[in-house]
Amino acid sequence: MNLFSNNKKHPLSEISRELRIDILDTVFKAGFGHIGGSLSSIDILVALYFSKLFDFNRDHFILSAGHLCLSHYAILAKLGKFPKKLLDTYSEFGSILQGHESIDVPGVEYSSGSLGQGLSFAAGLALGDKDHHTVCLTTDGEHNEGQIWETVMFANKYHLGNLINIVDCNGIQIGGYTDDIMPLKSLAAKYIQNGWTVTTVNGHDFNALHKAIIRSKNSTIYPACIIAKTISGSGISFMEKNPQYHDVKSLPQNLYLTALDELNQK
């Protein structure tokens, strides 16, 4: 699958490429980071933040999977929420850019890291602020957590039509492939059975993401779930679908340059 095939002429594709480089640079300099999921989720975040479908000064974005913070940091820096050079301090002592994101970061509404909690928080926020949308980003691996399913039932009961949960389904979690760690079977079926409006999309196709978001926003009575099929490490060939790159403790310079070269040629 050429993940850029559908995006070549899309105006957001250049932003996405630029932010992939920011993520790669940040991980290389820090010698640490959850790069696989950050790269699989970046197109989703670009679609959310740059499609003009939401105003996150009033609408809410909750990153439930806090380890994907690198993609969120790159977005927020691009938006000017903090100076881009701050990315160089990622995970350093005293930096607001921790290894999992916190509300100390301008533009962040929820401190996350312990999986499964953000969707509950998002549902509570959606219940308390019905005039705006609350968008939550979770992952497929995160759906191992029972709390997620408590919230799936809750959102149906309270008709949270202003809640959208986007699931970054890259098939990989920290211990390996999701199918091996804990098979999820059909996520779509589970959400549909619980009364959610479900849309399954290619999570790297901006046109498809755009349509899915509009459909989800139009689901005003029922909560909406977008199941975004993505590729872990997307955009960097040797990282793609490779569980070793769920997170890295260091990134050798030769691999960094190879990856950078590939992103520069996109």
Binding site: S102, I103, E109, Y110, S111, S112, G113, S114, G116, Q117, G118, L119, S120, F121, A122, A123, G124, L125, A126, L127, G128, D129, G146, Q147, E150, T151, M153, F154, Y158
Partner: protein, 307 residues
């Protein structure tokens, strides 16, 4: 303990009545519940303020997250359950989604301690104070009677940070002239022999002991702890007894021991609590207090050791 057994006012009812009263005055007050509405005396609130009574079903983790999200949207939220479920099951959610965000959620853990009686070990929450007082941003309160419950609930409804409120199951006596002051402890009996510290109805037993000059202090604010009042009394008596219906590990006794050692004040010290054991059922919780060394007899023995 007969005075407790025969008494007439329910801490739980005081909680429910106060929440109901506040519900009219505060349009932003929400109650999040986990299928324990009647047990926490919340029927009146739930019936009158339907849109602000959020029933999560038997799902404490989600309930804590919902409470946090509601608080983020500007609501004042009471998260209500038994202490053995909340904060026991959902502690990690309370830590991350409530405390770390510093949101105004009041976690109400009812049926705490051995006083839950016949429900047995799984329902006798003896670790909640330990769990909650270690969390940054969290304050911890435990009323001694129904009147203090009302005062504390009214105070907590106006706070802007997380709090834990520990309640007990049975009806208990009213202590004369109890007045809750945030962050302070109250001397409910002056004396010069031994300083007796505690929280909740278990402390009432010390009021029945008449052969010693006890200075009895109600530490309903467990965190923050009123170090000034406590140390002033201990400096005077030179003897300190802590009693709590909770594990000795991690409870008020540990907090006070740390306070005394750090202060440099020399004093004799005994802490009474459940000593690294689980509870068990009993039809009469007097039996449990006898068995676990929290009854009047154990208190008198401890006082004699200190003197």
């Amino acid at each position: 303990m007969n005075s407790i057994k025969n008494n007439n006012q329910s801490i739980r009812s005081a909680f429910g009545d106060t929440i109901f009263e506040l519900g009219s005055a505060m349009s932003n007050l929400y109650v999040v519940n986990v299928d324990l509405k009647t047990s926490l005396s919340l029927d009146k609130f739930a019936n009158k303020f339907r849109s602000r009574f959020i029933e999560c079903g038997v799902a404490e983790s989600n309930a804590a997250g919902i409470a946090a999200g509601l608080a983020k949207s500007g609501k004042t939220v009471f998260l209500t359950s038994f202490a053995c479920f909340s904060p026991a099951i959902n502690w990690a959610v309370i830590k991350q989604s409530i405390c770390y965000q510093n949101l105004p959620v009041i976690i109400v853990g009812s049926h705490a301690g051995l006083l839950s009686g016949d429900l047995g070990a799984t329902h006798q929450m003896l670790e909640d104070v330990a769990l909650m007082r270690t969390l940054p941003n969290m304050s911890v309160c435990a009323p001694i009677d129904a009147n203090e419950t009302t005062d504390i609930v009214k105070y907590l409804a106006k706070t802007i940070s997380p709090a834990y409120l520990r309640l007990v199951r049975p009806s208990t006596p009213i202590v004369p002239k109890i007045k809750f002051t945030p962050g302070k402890s109250q001397i409910i009996q002056s004396g010069s022999d031994v300083t007796v510290l505690g929280y909740g109805p278990v402390l009432l037993q010390s009021l029945e002991i008449k052969n010693f000059k006890l200075e009895i202090i109600n530490c309903s604010s467990i965190k923050p702890l009123d170090s000034e009042t406590i140390l002033k009394s201990i400096k005077k008596t030179g003897r300190c007894l802590v009693i709590e219906d909770h594990q000795k590990n991690g409870g008020l006794g540990d907090a006070v021991a740390n306070l005394i050692l750090s202060s440099g004040i020399k004093c004799k010290f005994i802490s009474l609590g459940v000593d690294n054991q689980f509870g068990q059922s009993a039809k009469d919780w007097q039996t449990l207090y006898d068995h676990y060394g929290l009854a009047k007899k154990a208190i008198i023995n401890a006082i004699k050791k200190l003197l």
